[in-house]
Protein backbone atom coordinates (compact mmCIF):
# COMPACT_ATOMS: atom_id res chain seq x y z
CA UNK A 1 0.00 0.00 0.00
CA UNK A 2 2.87 2.23 0.83
CA UNK A 3 4.21 1.54 -2.58
CA UNK A 4 1.18 3.05 -4.22
CA UNK A 5 1.39 6.11 -2.05
CA UNK A 6 4.90 6.68 -3.13
CA UNK A 7 4.04 6.54 -6.78
CA UNK A 8 1.19 8.92 -6.27
CA UNK A 9 3.47 11.27 -4.48
CA UNK A 10 5.91 11.13 -7.35
CA UNK A 11 3.14 11.67 -9.90
CA UNK A 12 2.03 14.84 -8.18
CA UNK A 13 5.62 16.04 -8.23
CA UNK A 14 5.83 15.41 -11.97
CA UNK A 15 2.73 17.35 -12.64
CA UNK A 16 4.03 20.14 -10.50
CA UNK A 17 7.34 20.34 -12.42
CA UNK A 18 5.65 19.80 -15.80
CA UNK A 19 8.61 17.79 -16.99
CA UNK A 20 8.93 14.95 -19.48
CA UNK A 21 10.96 12.02 -18.05
CA UNK A 22 14.37 11.45 -19.70
CA UNK A 23 14.13 7.77 -18.94
CA UNK A 24 10.91 5.87 -18.74
CA UNK A 25 10.77 2.17 -17.89
CA UNK A 26 7.56 0.22 -17.83
CA UNK A 27 7.03 -3.40 -16.81
CA UNK A 28 10.61 -4.47 -17.52
CA UNK A 29 11.21 -8.20 -17.41
CA UNK A 30 14.46 -10.08 -17.76
CA UNK A 31 15.36 -13.67 -17.03
CA UNK A 32 18.67 -15.56 -17.25
CA UNK A 33 17.70 -19.10 -17.97
CA UNK A 34 15.13 -20.04 -15.37
CA UNK A 35 16.26 -17.28 -13.01
CA UNK A 36 13.81 -14.37 -13.21
CA UNK A 37 15.82 -11.27 -12.29
CA UNK A 38 13.46 -8.44 -13.19
CA UNK A 39 9.75 -9.10 -12.96
CA UNK A 40 8.10 -5.89 -14.06
CA UNK A 41 10.22 -2.92 -13.04
CA UNK A 42 8.99 0.65 -13.52
CA UNK A 43 11.02 3.86 -13.40
CA UNK A 44 10.82 7.51 -14.43
CA UNK A 45 13.94 9.63 -14.40
CA UNK A 46 13.41 13.38 -14.63
CA UNK A 47 15.91 16.06 -15.63
CA UNK A 48 18.45 17.16 -13.02
CA UNK A 49 17.49 14.35 -10.69
CA UNK A 50 19.92 12.11 -8.85
CA UNK A 51 18.17 8.80 -8.39
CA UNK A 52 19.80 6.00 -6.43
CA UNK A 53 18.69 2.42 -6.89
CA UNK A 54 19.41 0.34 -3.83
CA UNK A 55 19.39 -3.42 -3.72
CA UNK A 56 21.21 -6.45 -2.46
CA UNK A 57 23.83 -7.98 -4.66
CA UNK A 58 22.26 -10.28 -7.20
CA UNK A 59 19.00 -8.35 -7.10
CA UNK A 60 19.45 -7.27 -10.72
CA UNK A 61 20.59 -3.65 -10.30
CA UNK A 62 23.43 -3.93 -12.79
CA UNK A 63 21.21 -5.71 -15.26
CA UNK A 64 18.72 -2.90 -14.98
CA UNK A 65 21.06 -0.11 -16.00
CA UNK A 66 22.71 -2.27 -18.66
CA UNK A 67 19.27 -2.64 -20.21
CA UNK A 68 19.16 1.14 -20.56
CA UNK A 69 22.05 1.16 -23.04
CA UNK A 70 21.19 -2.24 -24.42
CA UNK A 71 24.24 -4.02 -23.10
CA UNK A 72 21.62 -6.55 -22.06
CA UNK A 73 18.64 -7.33 -24.26
CA UNK A 74 15.34 -7.22 -22.40
CA UNK A 75 12.76 -9.99 -22.56
CA UNK A 76 9.71 -7.84 -22.21
CA UNK A 77 8.71 -4.30 -21.36
CA UNK A 78 9.21 -0.75 -22.55
CA UNK A 79 12.34 1.37 -22.23
CA UNK A 80 12.32 4.95 -23.46
CA UNK A 81 15.52 6.96 -23.23
CA UNK A 82 15.33 10.56 -24.44
CA UNK A 83 12.06 9.61 -26.10
CA UNK A 84 13.49 6.67 -28.07
CA UNK A 85 12.51 3.05 -27.55
CA UNK A 86 15.83 1.36 -26.83
CA UNK A 87 14.95 -2.27 -27.77
CA UNK A 88 13.76 -1.22 -31.24
CA UNK A 89 16.68 0.99 -32.29
CA UNK A 90 18.98 0.33 -35.19
CA UNK A 91 22.68 0.11 -34.36
CA UNK A 92 23.44 3.62 -35.59
CA UNK A 93 20.59 5.24 -33.69
CA UNK A 94 21.64 3.28 -30.63
CA UNK A 95 25.19 4.62 -30.92
CA UNK A 96 23.72 8.10 -31.20
CA UNK A 97 21.74 7.65 -27.97
CA UNK A 98 24.80 6.20 -26.28
CA UNK A 99 26.70 9.47 -26.76
CA UNK A 100 24.10 11.12 -24.55
CA UNK A 101 24.18 8.41 -21.91
CA UNK A 102 27.43 8.09 -19.98
CA UNK A 103 28.20 4.85 -18.19
CA UNK A 104 30.66 4.50 -15.33
CA UNK A 105 31.52 0.84 -14.90
CA UNK A 106 31.96 -0.93 -11.64
CA UNK A 107 35.64 -1.80 -12.03
CA UNK A 108 36.46 1.40 -13.95
CA UNK A 109 36.93 -0.73 -17.11
CA UNK A 110 39.89 1.24 -18.42
CA UNK A 111 41.46 -0.35 -21.50
CA UNK A 112 44.57 -2.07 -20.19
CA UNK A 113 46.51 -1.93 -23.43
CA UNK A 114 46.11 1.84 -23.86
CA UNK A 115 47.48 4.89 -22.10
CA UNK A 116 45.20 7.27 -20.25
CA UNK A 117 45.23 9.57 -23.25
CA UNK A 118 44.18 6.78 -25.60
CA UNK A 119 41.53 5.71 -23.14
CA UNK A 120 40.01 9.16 -23.29
CA UNK A 121 40.40 9.33 -27.06
CA UNK A 122 38.52 6.12 -27.53
CA UNK A 123 34.97 7.42 -27.11
CA UNK A 124 35.84 10.47 -29.19
CA UNK A 125 37.10 8.54 -32.19
CA UNK A 126 33.64 7.27 -33.03
CA UNK A 127 31.22 9.65 -31.46
CA UNK A 128 32.80 13.00 -32.26
CA UNK A 129 34.57 12.24 -35.46
CA UNK A 130 34.70 15.86 -36.49
CA UNK A 131 36.86 16.75 -33.53
CA UNK A 132 40.47 16.49 -34.57
CA UNK A 133 43.90 17.54 -33.32
CA UNK A 134 43.80 20.59 -31.06
CA UNK A 135 40.14 20.25 -30.25
CA UNK A 136 40.53 16.65 -29.20
CA UNK A 137 43.57 17.43 -27.09
CA UNK A 138 41.68 20.28 -25.44
CA UNK A 139 38.72 18.04 -24.63
CA UNK A 140 40.98 15.43 -23.09
CA UNK A 141 42.83 17.95 -20.96
CA UNK A 142 39.58 19.52 -19.85
CA UNK A 143 38.14 16.18 -18.80
CA UNK A 144 41.32 15.31 -16.91
CA UNK A 145 41.36 18.71 -15.20
CA UNK A 146 37.82 18.20 -14.01
CA UNK A 147 38.93 15.03 -12.18
CA UNK A 148 42.25 16.56 -11.18
CA UNK A 149 44.56 14.13 -12.95
CA UNK A 150 46.20 16.07 -15.77
CA UNK A 151 49.62 14.71 -14.86
CA UNK A 152 48.56 11.10 -15.47
CA UNK A 153 47.91 11.58 -19.18
CA UNK A 154 50.71 9.32 -20.46
CA UNK A 155 50.48 6.64 -17.79
CA UNK A 156 49.14 3.15 -18.35
CA UNK A 157 46.09 2.05 -16.30
CA UNK A 158 48.22 -0.57 -14.53
CA UNK A 159 50.29 2.27 -13.04
CA UNK A 160 47.28 3.93 -11.41
CA UNK A 161 45.70 3.33 -8.01
CA UNK A 162 42.09 2.23 -7.65
CA UNK A 163 40.84 5.74 -6.90
CA UNK A 164 42.77 7.26 -9.77
CA UNK A 165 41.39 4.63 -12.11
CA UNK A 166 37.89 5.45 -11.02
CA UNK A 167 38.50 9.15 -11.64
CA UNK A 168 39.99 8.52 -15.09
CA UNK A 169 36.99 6.34 -15.87
CA UNK A 170 34.79 9.22 -14.79
CA UNK A 171 36.70 11.58 -17.03
CA UNK A 172 36.24 9.14 -19.91
CA UNK A 173 32.50 9.09 -19.23
CA UNK A 174 32.31 12.87 -19.09
CA UNK A 175 34.31 13.63 -22.20
CA UNK A 176 31.25 13.31 -24.42
CA UNK A 177 29.24 15.60 -22.10
CA UNK A 178 26.28 13.26 -21.69
CA UNK A 179 22.82 14.33 -20.52
CA UNK A 180 22.36 11.20 -18.45
CA UNK A 181 25.08 9.43 -16.47
CA UNK A 182 24.65 5.89 -15.21
CA UNK A 183 26.88 4.90 -12.32
CA UNK A 184 27.36 1.22 -11.56
CA UNK A 185 28.61 0.99 -7.96
CA UNK A 186 30.84 4.07 -8.14
CA UNK A 187 32.40 3.45 -4.76
CA UNK A 188 32.79 -0.31 -4.79
CA UNK A 189 36.25 -1.59 -3.92
CA UNK A 190 37.43 1.76 -2.60
CA UNK A 191 38.40 2.72 0.93
CA UNK A 192 36.03 5.14 2.73
CA UNK A 193 38.20 8.22 2.19
CA UNK A 194 38.59 7.61 -1.53
CA UNK A 195 34.91 6.77 -1.71
CA UNK A 196 34.10 10.11 -0.24
CA UNK A 197 36.38 11.87 -2.72
CA UNK A 198 34.60 10.14 -5.57
CA UNK A 199 31.20 11.04 -4.17
CA UNK A 200 32.18 14.72 -3.90
CA UNK A 201 33.55 14.59 -7.42
CA UNK A 202 30.31 13.12 -8.73
CA UNK A 203 28.32 15.90 -7.04
CA UNK A 204 30.61 18.56 -8.45
CA UNK A 205 30.34 17.19 -11.95
CA UNK A 206 26.63 16.92 -11.55
CA UNK A 207 26.53 20.62 -10.88
CA UNK A 208 28.94 21.56 -13.67
CA UNK A 209 27.34 19.49 -16.37
CA UNK A 210 23.77 19.82 -15.17
CA UNK A 211 23.44 16.11 -15.89
CA UNK A 212 20.84 13.69 -14.67
CA UNK A 213 22.19 10.66 -12.81
CA UNK A 214 21.06 7.17 -12.08
CA UNK A 215 23.26 5.57 -9.46
CA UNK A 216 23.33 1.95 -8.46
CA UNK A 217 24.85 1.13 -5.15
CA UNK A 218 24.52 -0.77 -1.95
CA UNK A 219 26.59 1.84 -0.12
CA UNK A 220 24.07 3.68 2.06
CA UNK A 221 26.39 6.61 2.80
CA UNK A 222 26.88 7.18 -0.86
CA UNK A 223 23.17 6.90 -1.50
CA UNK A 224 22.31 9.30 1.28
CA UNK A 225 24.72 12.01 0.13
CA UNK A 226 23.99 11.86 -3.57
CA UNK A 227 20.32 11.05 -3.90
CA UNK A 228 17.33 13.25 -4.42
CA UNK A 229 15.27 10.14 -4.52
CA UNK A 230 15.84 6.46 -3.74
CA UNK A 231 14.34 3.30 -5.15
CA UNK A 232 14.67 -0.03 -3.43
CA UNK A 233 14.88 -2.91 -5.87
CA UNK A 234 13.57 -6.02 -4.24
CA UNK A 235 12.22 -9.26 -5.74
CA UNK A 236 12.63 -7.89 -9.25
CA UNK A 237 10.38 -4.86 -8.85
CA UNK A 238 10.69 -1.30 -7.58
CA UNK A 239 9.60 -2.24 -4.12
CA UNK A 240 9.70 1.22 -2.53
CA UNK A 241 10.71 4.76 -3.42
CA UNK A 242 11.19 8.06 -1.70
CA UNK A 243 13.83 10.27 -0.19
CA UNK A 244 16.32 8.86 2.28
CA UNK A 245 14.41 10.42 5.15
CA UNK A 246 11.10 8.91 4.12
CA UNK A 247 12.46 5.43 3.45
CA UNK A 248 14.58 5.24 6.57
CA UNK A 249 11.48 5.93 8.64
CA UNK A 250 9.38 3.42 6.73
CA UNK A 251 7.25 0.89 8.59
CA UNK A 252 7.43 -1.71 5.85
CA UNK A 253 8.96 -4.90 7.08
CA UNK A 254 11.15 -5.55 4.10
CA UNK A 255 12.37 -1.97 3.82
CA UNK A 256 13.24 -2.01 7.48
CA UNK A 257 15.08 -5.27 7.10
CA UNK A 258 16.94 -3.87 4.16
CA UNK A 259 18.07 -0.76 6.00
CA UNK A 260 19.11 -2.83 8.95
CA UNK A 261 21.20 -5.10 6.83
CA UNK A 262 22.92 -2.31 4.92
CA UNK A 263 23.64 -0.36 8.09
CA UNK A 264 25.30 -3.38 9.61
CA UNK A 265 27.91 -3.48 6.91
Amino acid sequence: MRLKENINMQDSKTQKDKLVPLVKIRNLKKAFGSNLVLKGFNLDLFPNENVVILGKSGSGKSVLIKCLVRLVEVDEGEILVLGKSIPDLEQEELDEIRTDVGFLFQGSALYDSMTVRENLQFPLRRHKERMKGQDEEKLIMEALRSVGLEHAIDLMPAELSGGMKRRIALARTLILQPQIILYDEPTSGLDPITSNEIIQLILKIQKDLKATSLIITHDMDCARVISNRMIILQDGINYAEGTYEVLSQSDDKKVKAFFKEVQKR
Binding site: F103, Q106, A109, D112, F122
Partner: protein, 257 residues
Amino acid sequence: METIAKSIKNYLEETGSISQFAFRFFQQAVRPPFEFKELLRQCYLIGYNSLFLVIATGFIMGLVLTLQVRPTMIEFGAVSYMPQMVGISIVREIGPVITALICAGKVGSSIGAELGSMKVTEQIDAMEVSGTNPFKYLVVTRIMASTLMLPLLVIAADAIGLFGSFLIESIKGDVSMTLYFNIVFETLTFGDLLPATIKSFFFGFAIGLVGCYKGYHSKKGTEGVGKAANSAVVLASLLLFVIDFLAVLVADIFYEI
Protein backbone atom coordinates in the same frame (compact mmCIF):
# COMPACT_ATOMS: atom_id res chain seq x y z
CA MET B 1 25.08 -42.76 -19.65
CA GLU B 2 23.77 -39.45 -18.55
CA THR B 3 27.25 -37.96 -18.52
CA ILE B 4 27.80 -39.15 -22.07
CA ALA B 5 24.56 -37.57 -23.21
CA LYS B 6 25.49 -34.41 -21.39
CA SER B 7 28.94 -34.24 -22.93
CA ILE B 8 27.50 -34.83 -26.38
CA LYS B 9 25.04 -32.03 -25.75
CA ASN B 10 27.86 -29.78 -24.54
CA TYR B 11 29.92 -30.62 -27.61
CA LEU B 12 27.05 -29.82 -29.94
CA GLU B 13 26.30 -26.59 -28.11
CA GLU B 14 29.91 -25.49 -28.26
CA THR B 15 30.24 -26.41 -31.94
CA GLY B 16 27.07 -24.54 -32.75
CA SER B 17 28.08 -21.47 -30.87
CA ILE B 18 31.58 -21.42 -32.38
CA SER B 19 30.02 -21.74 -35.83
CA GLN B 20 27.73 -18.87 -35.04
CA PHE B 21 30.70 -16.88 -33.83
CA ALA B 22 32.53 -17.59 -37.08
CA PHE B 23 29.46 -16.59 -39.07
CA ARG B 24 29.27 -13.35 -37.13
CA PHE B 25 32.93 -12.76 -37.92
CA PHE B 26 32.33 -13.00 -41.66
CA GLN B 27 29.26 -10.86 -41.36
CA GLN B 28 31.11 -8.10 -39.53
CA ALA B 29 34.37 -8.40 -41.45
CA VAL B 30 32.85 -7.29 -44.73
CA ARG B 31 30.92 -4.34 -43.32
CA PRO B 32 32.43 -0.92 -42.77
CA PRO B 33 33.81 0.70 -40.71
CA PHE B 34 37.09 -1.17 -40.85
CA GLU B 35 39.52 -0.95 -37.98
CA PHE B 36 42.69 -0.75 -40.04
CA LYS B 37 44.86 0.76 -37.36
CA GLU B 38 43.93 -1.87 -34.84
CA LEU B 39 44.39 -4.55 -37.50
CA LEU B 40 47.92 -3.34 -38.11
CA ARG B 41 48.61 -3.31 -34.40
CA GLN B 42 47.34 -6.87 -34.07
CA CYS B 43 49.37 -7.96 -37.09
CA TYR B 44 52.42 -6.58 -35.35
CA LEU B 45 51.57 -8.28 -32.07
CA ILE B 46 50.67 -11.62 -33.62
CA GLY B 47 53.05 -11.71 -36.57
CA TYR B 48 56.18 -9.84 -35.62
CA ASN B 49 56.18 -10.73 -31.95
CA SER B 50 55.88 -14.44 -32.72
CA LEU B 51 58.60 -14.27 -35.35
CA PHE B 52 61.55 -14.98 -33.09
CA LEU B 53 59.85 -17.95 -31.47
CA VAL B 54 58.79 -19.36 -34.82
CA ILE B 55 62.23 -18.89 -36.35
CA ALA B 56 63.92 -20.54 -33.38
CA THR B 57 61.60 -23.55 -33.44
CA GLY B 58 61.77 -23.78 -37.21
CA PHE B 59 65.54 -23.81 -37.19
CA ILE B 60 65.76 -26.46 -34.50
CA MET B 61 63.09 -28.48 -36.27
CA GLY B 62 65.20 -28.53 -39.43
CA LEU B 63 68.30 -29.58 -37.50
CA VAL B 64 66.56 -32.31 -35.55
CA LEU B 65 64.64 -33.72 -38.49
CA THR B 66 67.79 -34.04 -40.54
CA LEU B 67 69.80 -35.56 -37.70
CA GLN B 68 67.07 -38.09 -36.98
CA VAL B 69 66.35 -39.16 -40.52
CA ARG B 70 69.92 -39.21 -41.81
CA PRO B 71 71.06 -42.55 -40.26
CA THR B 72 68.07 -44.37 -41.71
CA MET B 73 68.66 -42.86 -45.12
CA ILE B 74 72.29 -43.92 -44.95
CA GLU B 75 71.15 -47.44 -44.19
CA PHE B 76 69.06 -47.42 -47.34
CA GLY B 77 71.89 -45.92 -49.29
CA ALA B 78 69.61 -43.02 -50.09
CA VAL B 79 71.42 -40.26 -48.28
CA SER B 80 71.49 -38.20 -51.46
CA TYR B 81 67.69 -38.08 -51.21
CA MET B 82 67.89 -36.13 -47.95
CA PRO B 83 67.09 -32.71 -49.47
CA GLN B 84 64.04 -34.13 -51.21
CA MET B 85 62.80 -35.84 -48.09
CA VAL B 86 63.40 -32.98 -45.70
CA GLY B 87 62.18 -30.38 -48.19
CA ILE B 88 58.89 -32.12 -48.77
CA SER B 89 58.24 -32.94 -45.14
CA ILE B 90 59.00 -29.42 -43.95
CA VAL B 91 57.07 -27.59 -46.63
CA ARG B 92 54.09 -29.91 -46.79
CA GLU B 93 53.53 -30.81 -43.19
CA ILE B 94 55.98 -30.06 -40.43
CA GLY B 95 56.46 -26.36 -41.13
CA PRO B 96 52.76 -25.44 -41.13
CA VAL B 97 51.78 -27.73 -38.28
CA ILE B 98 54.63 -26.89 -35.90
CA THR B 99 54.29 -23.18 -36.57
CA ALA B 100 50.55 -23.34 -36.05
CA LEU B 101 50.96 -25.24 -32.80
CA ILE B 102 53.52 -22.73 -31.54
CA CYS B 103 51.17 -19.91 -32.47
CA ALA B 104 48.22 -21.67 -30.89
CA GLY B 105 50.23 -21.70 -27.70
CA LYS B 106 51.47 -18.16 -27.93
CA VAL B 107 48.81 -16.24 -29.83
CA GLY B 108 45.76 -18.32 -28.96
CA SER B 109 46.39 -18.15 -25.24
CA SER B 110 47.21 -14.46 -25.26
CA ILE B 111 44.08 -13.61 -27.24
CA GLY B 112 42.01 -15.80 -24.96
CA ALA B 113 43.45 -14.24 -21.82
CA GLU B 114 43.28 -10.67 -23.12
CA LEU B 115 39.70 -10.84 -24.33
CA GLY B 116 38.76 -12.86 -21.28
CA SER B 117 40.04 -10.22 -18.90
CA MET B 118 38.49 -7.47 -20.98
CA LYS B 119 35.19 -9.27 -20.77
CA VAL B 120 35.46 -9.80 -17.04
CA THR B 121 36.43 -6.21 -16.26
CA GLU B 122 33.63 -4.90 -18.50
CA GLN B 123 36.07 -3.29 -20.93
CA ILE B 124 34.14 -4.88 -23.77
CA ASP B 125 30.93 -3.34 -22.45
CA ALA B 126 32.72 -0.03 -22.13
CA MET B 127 33.69 -0.22 -25.76
CA GLU B 128 30.15 -1.03 -26.71
CA VAL B 129 28.76 2.08 -25.01
CA SER B 130 31.59 4.17 -26.48
CA GLY B 131 30.03 3.57 -29.87
CA THR B 132 32.71 1.16 -31.03
CA ASN B 133 31.60 -2.27 -32.07
CA PRO B 134 33.80 -4.39 -29.83
CA PHE B 135 33.31 -7.44 -32.00
CA LYS B 136 34.72 -5.56 -34.91
CA TYR B 137 37.41 -3.82 -32.96
CA LEU B 138 38.59 -6.79 -30.94
CA VAL B 139 37.50 -10.00 -32.64
CA VAL B 140 37.53 -9.22 -36.35
CA THR B 141 40.94 -7.58 -36.20
CA ARG B 142 42.48 -10.41 -34.23
CA ILE B 143 41.07 -13.19 -36.38
CA MET B 144 42.07 -11.37 -39.55
CA ALA B 145 45.54 -10.65 -38.21
CA SER B 146 46.18 -14.25 -37.24
CA THR B 147 44.74 -15.50 -40.55
CA LEU B 148 47.03 -13.19 -42.49
CA MET B 149 50.12 -13.57 -40.37
CA LEU B 150 50.27 -17.33 -39.93
CA PRO B 151 51.09 -18.15 -43.56
CA LEU B 152 53.90 -15.62 -43.44
CA LEU B 153 55.22 -17.14 -40.24
CA VAL B 154 54.99 -20.57 -41.85
CA ILE B 155 57.05 -19.39 -44.78
CA ALA B 156 59.66 -17.97 -42.43
CA ALA B 157 59.71 -21.25 -40.50
CA ASP B 158 59.98 -23.28 -43.73
CA ALA B 159 62.89 -21.20 -44.96
CA ILE B 160 64.79 -21.31 -41.71
CA GLY B 161 63.99 -25.01 -41.25
CA LEU B 162 65.41 -25.84 -44.66
CA PHE B 163 68.43 -23.76 -43.85
CA GLY B 164 68.93 -25.69 -40.61
CA SER B 165 68.64 -28.94 -42.48
CA PHE B 166 71.15 -27.70 -45.03
CA LEU B 167 73.61 -26.86 -42.24
CA ILE B 168 73.58 -30.45 -41.00
CA GLU B 169 73.85 -31.78 -44.55
CA SER B 170 76.78 -29.53 -45.31
CA ILE B 171 78.60 -30.49 -42.11
CA LYS B 172 77.92 -34.21 -42.29
CA GLY B 173 77.54 -34.84 -45.97
CA ASP B 174 79.55 -32.06 -47.61
CA VAL B 175 76.66 -30.82 -49.71
CA SER B 176 76.96 -27.36 -51.21
CA MET B 177 74.22 -24.80 -50.67
CA THR B 178 73.54 -24.50 -54.38
CA LEU B 179 73.15 -28.25 -54.77
CA TYR B 180 71.00 -28.57 -51.69
CA PHE B 181 68.51 -25.90 -52.62
CA ASN B 182 68.60 -26.90 -56.26
CA ILE B 183 67.47 -30.38 -55.32
CA VAL B 184 64.89 -29.03 -52.87
CA PHE B 185 63.34 -26.74 -55.43
CA GLU B 186 63.50 -29.38 -58.12
CA THR B 187 61.55 -31.76 -55.92
CA LEU B 188 58.99 -29.29 -54.63
CA THR B 189 56.03 -28.50 -56.82
CA PHE B 190 53.08 -26.15 -56.54
CA GLY B 191 51.16 -29.19 -55.46
CA ASP B 192 53.31 -29.13 -52.33
CA LEU B 193 53.48 -25.42 -51.60
CA LEU B 194 49.96 -24.33 -52.47
CA PRO B 195 47.96 -26.68 -50.25
CA ALA B 196 50.39 -26.00 -47.41
CA THR B 197 49.93 -22.25 -47.77
CA ILE B 198 46.17 -22.44 -48.05
CA LYS B 199 46.17 -24.77 -45.08
CA SER B 200 48.10 -22.26 -42.99
CA PHE B 201 45.47 -19.59 -43.67
CA PHE B 202 42.94 -21.94 -42.15
CA PHE B 203 45.27 -22.65 -39.25
CA GLY B 204 45.57 -18.93 -38.57
CA PHE B 205 41.83 -18.51 -38.78
CA ALA B 206 41.23 -21.38 -36.37
CA ILE B 207 43.72 -20.03 -33.84
CA GLY B 208 42.24 -16.54 -33.96
CA LEU B 209 38.66 -17.78 -33.92
CA VAL B 210 39.08 -20.14 -30.99
CA GLY B 211 41.13 -17.63 -28.99
CA CYS B 212 38.56 -14.89 -29.53
CA TYR B 213 35.61 -17.19 -28.93
CA LYS B 214 36.97 -18.49 -25.66
CA GLY B 215 37.95 -15.02 -24.49
CA TYR B 216 34.75 -13.33 -25.60
CA HIS B 217 32.63 -15.94 -23.86
CA SER B 218 34.76 -16.26 -20.77
CA LYS B 219 33.00 -16.63 -17.44
CA LYS B 220 33.18 -13.98 -14.77
CA GLY B 221 36.13 -13.88 -12.41
CA THR B 222 39.87 -14.42 -12.69
CA GLU B 223 39.36 -18.16 -12.89
CA GLY B 224 37.29 -17.66 -16.02
CA VAL B 225 40.17 -15.79 -17.67
CA GLY B 226 42.63 -18.57 -16.94
CA LYS B 227 40.16 -21.13 -18.19
CA ALA B 228 39.56 -19.13 -21.35
CA ALA B 229 43.28 -18.98 -22.12
CA ASN B 230 43.80 -22.64 -21.38
CA SER B 231 40.82 -23.98 -23.30
CA ALA B 232 41.70 -21.70 -26.23
CA VAL B 233 45.06 -23.44 -26.58
CA VAL B 234 43.63 -26.92 -26.13
CA LEU B 235 40.75 -26.47 -28.53
CA ALA B 236 42.86 -24.62 -31.10
CA SER B 237 45.52 -27.36 -31.11
CA LEU B 238 42.88 -30.03 -31.52
CA LEU B 239 41.18 -28.10 -34.28
CA LEU B 240 44.50 -27.65 -36.07
CA PHE B 241 44.92 -31.38 -36.45
CA VAL B 242 41.37 -31.82 -37.65
CA ILE B 243 41.89 -29.08 -40.23
CA ASP B 244 45.23 -30.59 -41.20
CA PHE B 245 43.63 -33.95 -41.79
CA LEU B 246 40.86 -32.45 -43.89
CA ALA B 247 43.35 -30.33 -45.82
CA VAL B 248 45.48 -33.35 -46.65
CA LEU B 249 42.38 -35.24 -47.80
CA VAL B 250 41.29 -32.40 -50.06
CA ALA B 251 44.79 -31.76 -51.35
CA ASP B 252 45.12 -35.43 -52.18
CA ILE B 253 41.99 -35.31 -54.30
CA PHE B 254 43.27 -32.33 -56.25
CA TYR B 255 46.71 -33.87 -56.51
CA GLU B 256 45.35 -36.92 -58.25
CA ILE B 257 43.42 -34.99 -60.89
